[in-house]
Amino acid sequence: MASLMQVGPGPAKRAKRLVAGVVFGVLGRGTVACARLDERVRTEVMTWPDGTVITLSISPGSPRTTIRWEGGRLKALGSKTDAESTLLVSFKSVEDAFPALIGMKSVLQPFAEHRATVKGDLALAMSLVRCLHIVEGYLFPDIMNRRILPLPAKREVGHLRAYVALLGTSADLGVPSAASAPSAASAVASSGTSEASGTKGDTA
C-alpha cells in the first residue's frame, strides 16, 4: 500500500478561495446597497419574510457572507456571524463558485448545473437570484454584464454611486405592508405586519 501523500489544496485553489471571500463580501454589501438605491431590489427584499437570514458559502463552510432582513432593515453581517441561516446557498467546491463570482459565468449557471445546494425555501432563492442579477449590473462593467446577465443591465443610479454605497452595511427599508407580501403560492406569509406602513428609507 502506498503511504498517504500529504497534498494540500495548492496555491491556485487557496487564491481562488481568497478572491471568493472578497467577492462574497462585496456581493453582501452590494445587495444591501442596491436595496437602498434600486427600486427593484427594494421590492424583492420587501417580500422576504421578517427574520430572513441569507448566507452564500462554499463547501465545506467558508468563505461565506450573510445578510439579514429584520424589522424593516437589511444588514450585511459579513463572514463572521452566528446568525442561523434561513436560506443557505452553498457551492459544492471553490471551482463551482469561482467563474460565477469573477463575472465569467451567470449566477444562474451554478444552479442549473447542480453546482450549488440550496437549504431553505426555493422561492426565496429565486428572489435572491433576481437581486444578484441587478447587483451584478452595478458591480461589473457592461462588457462583462453582456456575458453573464440574462438581459441587458438596467441601472437606476450610476456605477460610481453604487460603489460609494458599498461603504454602508445596512439599509432601512421600513416594515412591509400586507399588500406588498408576495402572492406566490410558495412564499411564506409575512404575518404580523399588516398595520405597519410600507415606508421606504434611504439611510446609508
Binding site: H114, S183, A185
Partner: protein
C-alpha cells in the same frame, strides 16, 4: 450538444410488464425487508387496485405492517408526520407506495422524516441537502402514466399552518424500485389518461430543451416522446389495451428520469402556479401551456425543438420538413396532439376552459417567477413575459 458540466443519476431498478407487481415480494427479500407499510388512498382501494398488490404480497409470503390510506389530494406535513408515526409504531421496514403524485410525494416526505430523524420537515427543505447514508427502502407503484414520480428525486409537500408549499429535490428521494404494471393503469378514464400523458410529454420536451439537457437525459427524453407519439392515441382509443398502457407507463418513467436530472422550465413554472393559485389540474395546465411555452422559447431552443420533430412527428415528417421549418413544425405537432386529446377525451385547450380568469393572471405570473423551474428555462423570462404567455393561453 454537450454541456460544460452535468450530473446524472438513475438509481431506481425498473420492473416493467405483465405481473410486475408479483415481483415485489422478491424485491423486498433482496433488500432484506419483511414488513412494508403500504401508502395509498381510499379511492384506489375502492377501484380494487390495492387488491392486486395485496394478493401478490400474500402469495409471496409478505406480512404487511400497515396500510396507510389517508393520503389526501395535496400532500401535507401533518399527513407525512402521521405516516412516519404509523411506520414506526407498526415496526415497518420498507415503504410501498401505490398511487399517483400525491401518494408518492407523501411517501418521499415520510422517508425524509424517517431517515433523517428530523422532527421538522422545514429543516430538510431545499435542493440537494438531504444527507443520509441510506434511505428507508422504498418501492413505488404508479397508478397514472404521467408524473414520473416513481423515478424522480422531487417532492412537494404543503405546510398548511404556514401557508407554504415546501419543495424537496434530492437524488436521495428516488425510489429504489419502480414497478410498472399495466393492471394499475388500464382502468384510467380517457380524460385523466390524456391529461397525465400530456404531463409526461411536457417533462420530455422541457428536459430536452432546458439548460441542463445532456446526452444521457436526452436519450430518455427522445425515447419517451417516441412512445407518447405511438401509444397515446392507442390508449385513448382503447383504454384496456394493456401493451399500450405499459408503453405509456414507460414513457412517463423515461420522461421522469430525464427531467429528474435536467429539470423542467417555464411551462412547469406556470403550471405549478396555475395549480397553486387556481387549482388547475397539473396535466391540464401542461397540455394548455406547452405550445405557448415552446413559442416563447423557440428563439433560444429552436435547434432542440427541430431535433424533437423526429420524435414528435416521426421520421417521415422529419425528413420531408426543411431544416429551417422543423422547430415551428415541432410546436405545431404539439398543438395537434393537444387538439387530438381535446377531440378524443375532452382535454381543455385554453386556461379559460379550466376556470382561470384574466384577473388571476398577474398573481399566477408572480408565483411562476418564484418557481425553481424558471432557473432551467432556456430563455430568461421576466414577469411581463410570463404574463403575456398566460394571456395568449387564456
Amino acid at each position: 450538444m454537450i454541456p460544460s458540466y452535468y450530473e446524472f443519476s438513475n438509481r431506481a431498478k425498473v420492473l416493467s410488464g405483465e405481473a410486475a407487481i408479483d415481483h415485489i415480494p422478491f424485491e423486498l427479500k433482496v433488500m432484506e425487508c419483511a414488513r412494508p407499510i403500504i401508502v395509498t388512498n381510499k379511492q384506489l382501494i375502492e377501484l380494487g387496485l390495492l387488491k392486486v398488490v395485496l394478493r401478490a404480497l400474500a402469495e409471496g409470503g409478505v406480512q404487511v405492517g400497515a396500510i396507510y390510506d389517508d393520503v389526501p389530494v395535496d400532500s401535507s406535513v401533518a399527513v407525512v408526520n402521521d405516516l412516519a408515526a404509523v411506520y414506526r409504531d407498526q415496526g415497518c421496514d420498507a415503504i410501498l407506495a401505490v398511487g399517483g403524485g400525491s401518494v408518492l410525494d407523501t411517501a418521499k416526505g415520510a422517508n425524509i422524516v424517517l431517515t433523517t430523524g428530523s422532527e421538522d420537515l422545514n429543516e430538510q427543505m431545499g435542493n440537494e441537502i438531504i444527507v443520509a447514508r441510506a434511505m428507508v427502502p422504498f418501492i413505488a407503484v404508479p397508478t397514472t402514466a404521467g408524473t414520473g414520480s416513481e423515478v424522480t428525486g422531487a417532492a412537494v409537500i404543503k405546510d398548511i399552518e404556514r401557508h407554504t408549499k415546501m419543495g424537496f429535490v434530492s437524488y436521495a428521494l428516488v425510489p429504489d424500485v419502480a414497478v410498472l404494471d399495466p393492471r394499475m393503469t388500464v382502468g384510467l378514464p380517457p380524460r385523466l389518461t390524456a391529461s397525465t400523458g400530456m404531463d409526461a410529454l411536457t417533462h420530455a420536451v422541457e428536459a430536452f430543451s432546458c439548460r441542463q439537457a445532456n446526452p444521457l437525459s436526452d436519450a430518455y427524453a427522445r425515447a419517451a416522446i417516441d412512445l407518447v407519439r405511438e401509444y397515446l392515441p392507442l390508449v385513448l382509443e382503447d383504454g384496456r389495451n394493456a401493451s399500450a398502457r405499459l408503453a405509456m407507463a414507460n414513457a412517463a418513467l423515461l420522461a421522469g428520469v430525464s427531467f429528474s436530472n435536467s429539470m423542467v422550465g417555464i411551462v412547469h413554472a406556470m403550471g405549478h402556479s396555475c395549480g397553486g393559485q387556481c387549482s388547475v389540474a397539473h396535466g391540464d395546465a401542461m397540455g394548455i401551456l406547452l405550445p405557448h411555452g415552446m413559442e416563447f422559447n423557440v428563439d433560444h431552443a429552436g435547434p432542440r425543438y427541430a431535433e424533437l420533430l423526429l420524435h414528435l412527428a416521426g421520421p417521415e415528417v422529419y425528413a420531408s420538413t426543411p431544416a429551417a421549418d422543423r422547430a415551428a413544425a415541432a410546436i405545431e405537432t404539439v398543438r395537434a396532439m393537444l387538439q387530438f386529446t381535446h377531440e378524443r377525451a375532452g382535454m381543455p385547450t385554453k386556461l379559460s376552459e379550466v376556470g382561470v380568469t384574466l384577473e388571476q393572471l398577474p398573481g399566477i405570473a408572480t408565483a411562476a417567477m418564484n418557481d425553481g423551474s424558471m432557473t432551467f428555462n432556456p430563455r430568461y423570462a421576466e414577469e411581463s413575459d410570463v404574463l403575456q404567455i398566460l394571456k395568449a393561453a387564456l
